[in-house]
Every structure is written in structure tokens, then in C-alpha cells.
């Protein structure tokens, strides 16, 4: 076993160690708990970077240990280019949220449990991206759900959090069950739970079964992506959750659905099986895009506006994947990353706004532009970013997605409509920005400065967004390699 194979499981095990320490150390203050959280999460960032050179040589790094031998289930992890992209996105978002969390109120009581759950949430996601065993995949997949539900349940806002978290759990669990049925069908048919083994063999399944499983996978993962009309859990869950959790939910967890679609139906079955779904994915993407944007336009609660914008943005991603072209899918993967950064930035801005104004309705906030310049600039960059303004990242990915749409030859009209639909994104984004930072000055007794602990991570994310947008090269090459992992280089 090489050095790389040995340190790979550290991505999941070191956060587990962090969780154990946090559970034992009950008297940890928030800062102490945060340090443990950030350090253990930092390892999850450090290890993939250490593995990077190995990745360049081999393409994948795998680790496997028998777990339940009589069920052919093992603790297998695999790092490939596709999982690397999602893993880094998720870990970075979690780190940003953990740091941001230090500046706000959430988790001042029981901080050790709070950070332990954040770590578990992130562990669920990194495990999901790494798992090379369908049993293990599902366990991580549900861990992600359970941890996030607990975070909303305990630290969420308002009395409604119990109902909201229940709704969130049950609806997303229905999606998970569809995924579970498909996973077990594969497992039963090939008597192995190893994903890489399944990818080698799955094309031998009867075509009807392949189609059915693809359907289940796509619907199941679309629930997580909050594609219309499966999005109903999202607005409430995002609104009620404490801000750091909202950031992770919106920026990282939603895209796990994307990863699922790419890793399962796309990687398992030949392109002919997926072809019939392409147009439906594009239509669902378009509908989600427009619906999310319109709802964002109609909302008054600033947190809900950004929450609905996620529904809209996931629509672009699904559309990109539906094109079934290399460009479209590269665009979708890049969009996952850019969306994560932009969405984290926007929610951080919203968090600061709520903390300085104590107000969530857009009508009651206004004219803050001159008072909080750093906040204003961050928000401006975020808003321009989400509207797809060059050179900010989303411009690149949307370009690719639309190019994919035209390439695909499935329906030019749909692509044109999606392109035109993006105008709604610009409208709600500008309304959000204009309503808050221009116009009539809202209540007088506002603090003179936005809290520094919140502003610093926000500005950092903003700078990161600018850099990413200007240098899309590495990300694009990773995305191409990632698609190579799925399609064996051919596309």
C-alpha cells in the first residue's frame, strides 16, 4: 500500500476524530470547539492537496478494507478527478461556514455539539464523494441528511423549525429511497457493492431495467438538487437553518445531487440509455430556472430570495447535464463550483445584513450602500456573479452550458428559452441589490460598522470568486478530466 492510499481515508477519519474529541470535551468554548472543527476539516482539505501529484500520475487513488465480507461490502474509497472537484468545493464551503460561524451567534450554547455536527455534515458529503461502495455511499448520503436535520432542529430559528426539519427529512428521504432501490437492484444483480466493479458491468443489464434505474436515480438525486417540483423542502429549510448551515446546504449539499447523477446513471449506463431523459432534464432545468427566479422576485424575505435562487441555479446545472454534450456537462460541473462560491458569498452577505439590521424584509431595509462599503462591494460582486456577468465565474459556466445546449441538437428552442430565462436572474439579483443598498435609508440606529468577524470571511470569499472567475483554466481541465473518469476519456 502506497503512502497515498494510506492517507486517503484520513479525509473521513480525521473529521471523525474531531467529532469524538468534541463529544468528549463538553466544556469547550465556542472558539475552542471551532478550532477543533476547523483543524480537522483542514486536514480534509490538506490531504487531497497532498494527493494531487499522485492523482496527476495515476488518475485515481483508491483504498479498500473489508467491512461486511459476507455481504460483499467493504469500506472502499476512491478519489478521482470528479470527486476531487466536489470534495474540494464541499470542504472549502464548510471551512468558510465554520469560520463565518465564529462571528455570529449560532452555537454559543453546546458549541461542541454544534461543531461536531457541522463536521459530521461535511463528513457525510466528503464520504459521499469518495465512497466506492454503494452501501457506504448510502450511509454517507444519509449521514449528510441526518446531521443537517439535527443542525436545523436544534439551532434553527423560530418555532416552525420542528415542522420544517421533519418536512425536509421526509421529502429528501423519499428521494434517498429511490436511490436506495436502484443501488440495491444493482447490488443484487451483480452481487457486488463495489461501485467501480458495477461501473464495469452495469451495461450488461437489460435495457428496460437500465432505463428504470436511470429514472429512479435522476428523480432521487433531483430531490436533493431541489429541482422544481421536488424543491418544496428547500425554501423553508434554508430559511429556518442558522446561516452557516444554510451556507453549507445551499453551496455544497445541493450539488451532491449533481454528483450523484454524474456518478451513477451517467457513469453506469451507456449514453443511449440516458438519451431519452435528456430532453426532460433540459425541460425540468428550464422550468426550475424560471420558477426559482420568479419566486425569488416575488419573495420579500431576503434569505428566501437567495434560497429560491438556488432552485433557479440548480436548474442551469440540470439543463447542462441534460444536454449530454461534453461542453454542457463541463459547464454543469463548473457551475457547481462557481455557484458554491457565489451562493456562499450571497448568504454571508445576507447574514451580515440580518445581523446589523435585525430585519429580514427587503422593504424595510434600504440605502445601506454608503454605510457599509465592504459589504456593498461584496454584495455587488455576488449579485453580478449570479447574473452571469463576465469575468465572474458563472459567466464561464453558463457560456459552456448554453454552448452545450446548442451543440446537443436536441432542441435549439429550449436552449434559447433557457438563455432568455436567465434575464429573470438578472432582475431578481438587481432588485435584491438595489433594494438593500440604494433607495431610502432604513432605520437610523444601525451599528456604525458591520461585524468584522463576519466581514473578513465574506471579503475573502469575494476575492476567491474574482480569482476563480479570472483563472478558469485549472477548473476546466479538472472538469474535463472528471468527465473522462465517467466516460473513459471519450465523452
Amino acid at each position: 500500500m502506497s503512502f497515498e492510499e494510506i492517507i486517503l481515508p484520513g479525509i473521513t477519519l480525521i473529521p471523525v476524530l474531531g467529532v469524538v474529541i468534541l463529544l468528549i470535551w463538553r466544556k469547550a468554548t465556542k472558539t475552542q470547539a471551532a478550532i477543533i472543527g476547523i483543524v480537522s476539516e483542514g486536514f480534509a482539505l490538506l490531504i487531497p492537496l497532498l494527493l494531487y501529484s499522485g492523482m496527476k500520475n495515476n488518475g485515481i487513488i483508491a483504498f479498500s478494507l473489508p467491512w461486511i465480507p459476507n455481504m460483499q461490502i467493504s469500506f472502499s474509497l476512491e478519489l478521482n478527478w470528479l470527486s476531487l472537484i466536489f470534495l474540494l468545493t464541499e470542504v472549502l464551503v464548510t471551512l468558510a461556514a465554520m469560520i463565518y460561524s465564529l462571528g455570529e451567534k449560532t452555537g454559543e450554547k453546546n458549541s461542541n455539539y454544534y461543531y461536531a455536527l457541522l463536521l459530521l455534515f461535511s463528513l457525510g458529503m466528503s464520504g459521499t464523494t469518495l465512497a466506492d461502495d454503494v452501501f457506504l455511499f448510502y450511509i454517507f448520503w444519509e449521514l449528510m441528511l441526518v446531521a443537517s436535520v439535527l443542525l436545523i432542529l436544534v439551532w434553527g430559528h423560530g418555532e416552525s423549525r420542528f415542522k420544517v426539519s421533519l418536512k425536509y427529512f421526509i421529502i429528501t428521504h423519499i428521494g434517498s429511497l429511490l436511490v436506495l432501490i436502484s443501488l440495491i437492484t444493482l447490488y443484487v444483480n451483480f452481487e457486488t457493492a463495489s461501485l467501480s466493479e458495477l461501473i464495469r458491468q452495469a451495461h450488461t443489464l437489460p435495457v428496460n431495467l437500465q432505463t428504470l434505474l436511470t429514472l429512479f436515480f435522476i428523480i432521487g438525486f433531483s430531490v436533493k438538487m431541489a429541482i422544481f417540483p421536488l424543491h418544496i423542502w428547500l425554501p423553508d429549510a434554508h430559511t429556518v437553518a442558522p446561516m452557516p448551515v444554510t451556507i453549507i446546504l445551499a453551496a455544497a449539499m445541493l450539488s451532491m445531487g449533481t454528483y450523484g447523477v454524474l456518478r451513477f446513471p451517467y457513469a453506469l449506463f451507456p449514453i443511449d440509455t440516458i438519451q431519452p431523459f435528456a430532453i426532460w432534464m433540459m425541460i425540468a432545468g428550464l422550468v426550475s430556472e424560471v420558477y426559482g427566479a420568479l419566486m425569488a422576485l416575488a419573495e420579500k424575505d431576503i434569505k428566501r430570495i437567495i434560497a429560491y435562487s438556488s432552485v433557479s441555479q440548480m436548474g442551469y446545472i440540470l439543463f447542462g447535464m441534460g444536454t449530454l454534450t461534453l461542453r454542457g456537462m463541463e459547464g454543469a460541473i463548473m457551475h457547481v463550483v462557481y455557484h458554491a462560491i457565489v451562493k456562499a458569498l450571497l448568504f454571508m452577505v445576507v447574514g451580515i445584513l440580518i445581523s446589523v439590521t435585525n430585519e429580514r424584509e427587503i422593504d424595510k431595509i434600504g440605502g445601506l450602500g454608503m454605510k457599509y462599503p465592504a459589504l456593498c462591494i461584496s454584495a455587488a460582486i455576488g449579485v453580478l456573479g449570479i447574473s452571469g456577468m463576465p469575468p465572474l465565474g458563472i459567466f464561464n459556466s453558463e457560456w459552456m452550458i448554453f454552448a452545450g445546449g446548442f451543440d446537443s441538437g436536441i432542441s435549439i428552442a429550449l436552449t434559447v428559452m433557457t438563455l432568455l430565462g436567465s434575464i429573470f436572474t438578472v432582475i431578481y439579483a438587481l432588485r435584491f441589490f438595489g433594494g438593500i443598498f440604494f433607495g431610502k435609508r432604513s432605520p437610523e440606529d444601525l451599528p456604525a460598522k458591520a461585524p468584522l468577524a463576519l466581514t473578513i470571511p465574506t471579503v475573502a470569499v469575494m476575492i476567491f470568486l474574482l480569482v476563480e472567475g479570472l483563472l478558469p483554466g485549472p477548473l476546466l481541465s479538472w472538469a474535463i478530466r472528471g468527465l473522462g473518469t465517467i466516460f473513459g476519456g471519450s465523452g
Binding site: 459476507n70 455481504m71 448510502y138 441526518v146 420542528f162 426539519s165 421526509i170 423519499i174 443484487v188
Partner: protein, 495 residues
């Protein structure tokens, strides 16, 4: 005759122990706790003997029967039953925990003298039911279980509701044994023999009617729809410790006795499979739907228990209908995890009631802040029953899924869909109940307020509950040895 000793020794220990404990406690006026400890000692001895028996199972199976008394037809025949031994080991283990728990739980009762012997007799009767294929013997032992259990249910006889529950169980269960008696009549009339040493050579209509009678009788005792009506009343109002033992092991094990007798009487495996699968659907749906609207905590658990009986029947049904060995293992594994989770749930619910005097779910809102540890363990049980990964229930769900999908048959798939619907509805029951424990208190939620401050439960009650909770997590995270064991037991059974 050889091998007889190993067969009957554990049962003999239990039987002798029951009377010995009663006598010793009576004569020396032992306290509740001392009697509990004595019971634990006897149960541990029985458990060790049973484990030895299970280890020696391959040897035992080469000597497939032992005769007690004269030769058949006058004598009585025992056969080794690997599944029975396995279930009894589990039953003994849970019996140990229940006895320890009762050391505190019965602290306010005066009549504890009878309690522990009755537990021993119940287990002894159950053990006998698994081993005996002599119908008279079976009838006798079934009645032993019925009577002991009824007495245990009505243990707190000063409360009218306990008497009602005990009486209901007695009536319903006796009805079951009566039907079995009728079955015995048919079989005897046809064959002139009560010893079922193997599958009947020439099953005729009469023996098949006899088989149907046994099927009905066991179904009633297992709580199969529509004969499940006694379940909520009994589990809801019996002492919690008794409910834990009943719901966890005793009732559900009837599903594993049933095939032994029915198949020997000429019922085909397909028939049994269809019966189990069709009624499993009813059990799963009725249990999970009725669970949603319960106000009393233990009634809620009872309906979830009805649903779980359905899950077990589903597993066994697939096994019989499609001759699928892995489905039997799935069923037995499910039995194991349900026994652990269910007894955990009942014991934890008992702690709530012990301290607050109520089992009204509304009144118990916010109990998590007061009885922290029991509430945490109860949450583990509920999450496990809901099938959350890394807890014991999930692997069971996975195995059942696997078995059903492996058949590739539409009948199994339809049943699987119903299973899925049932687990989803179940989530709607388990999760709110779990969450409710941690809700902030309002004015009306008094029970939790009675205690007001965090209460430390006595170790006698807490230790078994914590142990079971650890087991739920342990089996869930590392199921490999348990699955191995279950598969091994099933292999012996199916030879």
C-alpha cells in the same frame, strides 16, 4: 436417547430455577433486588448452556431426535432446532436485562415474588415449543407460555386496566390454543399419532385442516392482522419490562415456531409463503398507519410492533415462497435487531413512566431535558426502528430489500413497495416522537414539569437500557459477525 440431556438441560434449569427462586425468596423473605439477582444467575447459567448447545449444533443435528419416556407413540419427541436455540439465547439475554431492570422497576410493588419465576417459566415454555414436535407436548407448553404471560401482564392487579389487559390476552391467547387443540384433533384423527418426527408421509385433508388450525393459532399469538387487536392493549398496559420481553422476543418468535409444525403437517412452502406475504402487507400498513395517531407512548410502540411483525413475515414469506435462503437469514437478522431495538424502546419508555407516572406523549414533551440518558437511548431505539444508517435497523432493511429484489418477481416487488410505504409512514411516526422529547415545554405539558430538574435514573434501570442502546449502535456499525451467526444458524436449520 443420547443427546437428550443436552436438549432438555437448559429447560430443566429454567423450570427448576423458577420454583427454587420462589421457594427461597418466600422462605428467606428476600428483597426484590436479591430475587432479581438470583434470576439473573439462573438466566446466565441457562444462557451459557444454550450457547454450548448452539456450538454443538452440528453434532446434535446428526442425531436428529431424542425421545423422552417410552418410545413413540407413547413417548414425547424433542428435536434440536438451531433457530429456536438462537432465539432463546436472545430471549435469555433480554430476560437478564429485564430482570436487572425490574430490580428497580418493581421497587414499589409488593408482589414481586411471583414475577421472576413467571419470566423463567415463560422462557422455558418458549424453549419447549421450539423443540417439541409432539403435538400434545406443544399444546401443553403453549399453554404454559400463555398462562405465565397473562399473569405477568396483569401483574399490577390493583389497577383495573392491567387486569383488563391480562384478561384480554388470556382470552385471545386461549382462543389461539383452542384452535390448536382443534387442529390436534384433526391430526390425531387422521394419523393416530401425535409425534411429528418428520414431514407426514401422506398428508390428507384432515391433517391439512390441522395445519391451518396451527397456522391460525400461531398467527393469533404473533399478532398477525386481523388477529392483532390484543397487541396494543397488552403492550400498552402490561408492566414495561414485560412488554419489552413480549414485544421483543416472545410474540414474534411464534412466527418461527409456526413453519416447523405447519410444514410437517403437509402445508406446502408456497402456501405458507403466500399466506405470510399477503398478511405481511396488512400488518405493515395497519401497524404504521395506526401508529401515527396514538397518544400513549407504549400503544404507539405496540402499533410499530405490529408493523415489524409484518416485516418479519415479509422476510420469511419470501424465503418460503421463493425458496430463497438469504431471505430466511434476513428474517432472522431482522428478528435479532427488532428484539434489541424494541425491548430498548419499551424499557426506556418504562423509565419515563416510572419517574413521571404517565405515558401520555403530549405530557412527556420535553422529557429529553430531564431524563437525559433514557431519552437519548430511546432516541437511538426510535432512529434504529426508523432505519437510519449505522444503527441496527438499517442493515435489516438492506437485507430485506436485497432478498425481495433478488427474487425479481412482481409479487415480491409489490410487497416491497408496500414495505417501503410502510417504512415511510413509519418515519412520520418515529421522527416526531423522537423530536417531541426535545421540544421546549408549554404550560400544558405537565409531566415533564413535575420533575422540573434533571433526574438521575437509578442504575438498575439505566444500565440495561444503555447496554441495549450500545448494542443497537454496535450491531449497526459492525454487522458482519451477527450476519455470519445468523447465516450459520439458518444453514443448520435448512439442512
Amino acid at each position: 436417547m443420547s443427546g437428550l440431556f443436552e436438549f432438555v438441560l437448559p429447560a430443566a434449569v429454567l423450570f427448576a430455577g423458577a420454583f427454587l427462586i420462589y421457594l427461597v425468596s418466600r422462605v428467606f423473605r428476600l428483597s426484590n433486588r436479591v430475587e432479581a439477582v438470583l434470576t439473573v444467575v439462573i438466566l446466565i447459567a441457562t444462557g451459557v448452556l444454550l450457547i454450548l448447545q448452539l456450538q454443538g449444533m452440528p453434532g446434535l443435528l446428526q442425531n436428529p431426535e431424542a425421545v423422552f419416556g417410552a418410545d413413540p407413540p407413547g413417548g414425547i419427541v424433542f428435536v434440536p432446532n438451531a433457530v429456536g436455540t438462537f432465539i432463546l439465547i436472545l430471549g435469555t439475554a433480554i430476560g437478564i436485562l429485564v430482570s436487572v431492570y425490574s430490580g428497580e422497576y418493581l421497587s414499589r410493588d409488593s408482589r414481586y415474588l411471583h414475577y421472576y419465576p413467571l419470566i423463567l417459566l415463560t422462557l422455558m415454555g418458549l424453549m419447549g415449543m421450539f423443540m417439541s414436535v409432539n403435538l400434545f407436548n406443544l399444546f401443553f407448553l403453549t399453554e404454559l407460555v400463555t398462562v405465565s404471560v397473562s399473569a405477568l401482564i396483569a401483574f399490577r392487579y390493583r389497577r383495573e386496566i392491567s387486569i383488563k389487559a391480562g384478561f384480554k390476552y388470556l382470552i385471545m391467547s386461549s382462543l389461539g390454543t383452542m384452535i390448536m387443540l382443534l387442529g390436534i384433533y384433526f391430526v390425531y384423527r387422521s394419523t393416530g399419532d401425535l409425534n411429528l418426527t418428520g414431514v407426514l408421509a401422506k398428508p390428507d385433508d384432515l391433517t391439512r385442516i390441522g395445519a391451518a388450525c396451527f397456522l391460525l393459532g400461531f398467527s393469533l399469538k404473533a399478532g398477525v392482522f386481523p388477529l392483532h387487536t390484543w397487541v396494543p392493549d397488552v403492550y400498552g398496559h402490561a408492566p414495561s419490562a414485560v412488554s419489552g420481553l413480549l414485544a421483543g422476543v416472545v410474540s414474534k418468535s411464534m412466527l418461527f415456531v409456526m413453519p416447523v409444525i405447519c410444514l410437517r403437517l403437509g402445508m406446502t412452502e408456497r402456501e405458507l409463503g403466500i399466506y405470510l406475504m399477503v398478511f405481511a402487507c396488512f400488518n405493515m400498513l395497519v401497524g404504521s398507519i395506526r401508529m401515527l395517531r396514538q397518544r400513549l407512548l407504549r400503544r404507539f410502540l405496540s402499533f410499530s410492533s405490529i408493523a415489524q411483525t409484518g416485516y418479519l413475515m415479509f422476510g420469511l414469506g419470501i424465503g418460503f415462497y421463493y425458496q430463497l435462503d438469504q431471505a430466511f437469514s434476513a428474517g432472522l437478522y431482522l428478528f435479532l435487531v427488532i428484539a434489541v431495538m424494541k425491548s430498548l424502546a419499551f424499557l426506556a419508555a418504562g423509565i419515563f413512566q416510572h419517574h413521571t407516572g404517565t405515558q401520555d406523549m403530549e405530557a412527556l414533551t420535553g422529557i429529553g431535558g430531564i431524563l437525559t440518558m433514557p431519552a437519548l437511548c430511546f432516541s437511538v431505539a426510535l432512529a434504529g426502528l426508523a432505519g437510519i444508517p449505522l444503527l441496527a435497523g438499517f442493515t435489516g432493511k438492506w437485507l430485506i430489500f436485497t432478498a425481495a429484489l433478488a427474487t425479481g418477481d412482481i409479487f415480491a416487488i409489490i410487497t416491497l413497495v408496500i414495505f417501503l410505504i410502510s417504512t415511510l409512514i413509519g418515519l412520520g411516526g418515529y421522527l416526531p416522537t423522537l423530536v417531541r422529547q426535545y421540544l421546549p415545554l408549554t404550560e400544558s405539558q405537565l409531566a415533564a414539569k413535575i420533575l422540573n430538574n434533571p433526574v438521575k435514573s437509578p442504575g438498575w434501570m439505566l444500565a440495561p437500557v444503555i447496554l441495549l442502546a450500545l448494542l443497537v449502535v454496535g450491531i449497526g456499525t459492525y454487522p458482519a459477525p451477527w450476519i455470519n451467526l445468523v447465516e450459520q444458524v439458518m444453514k443448520w436449520m435448512l439442512i
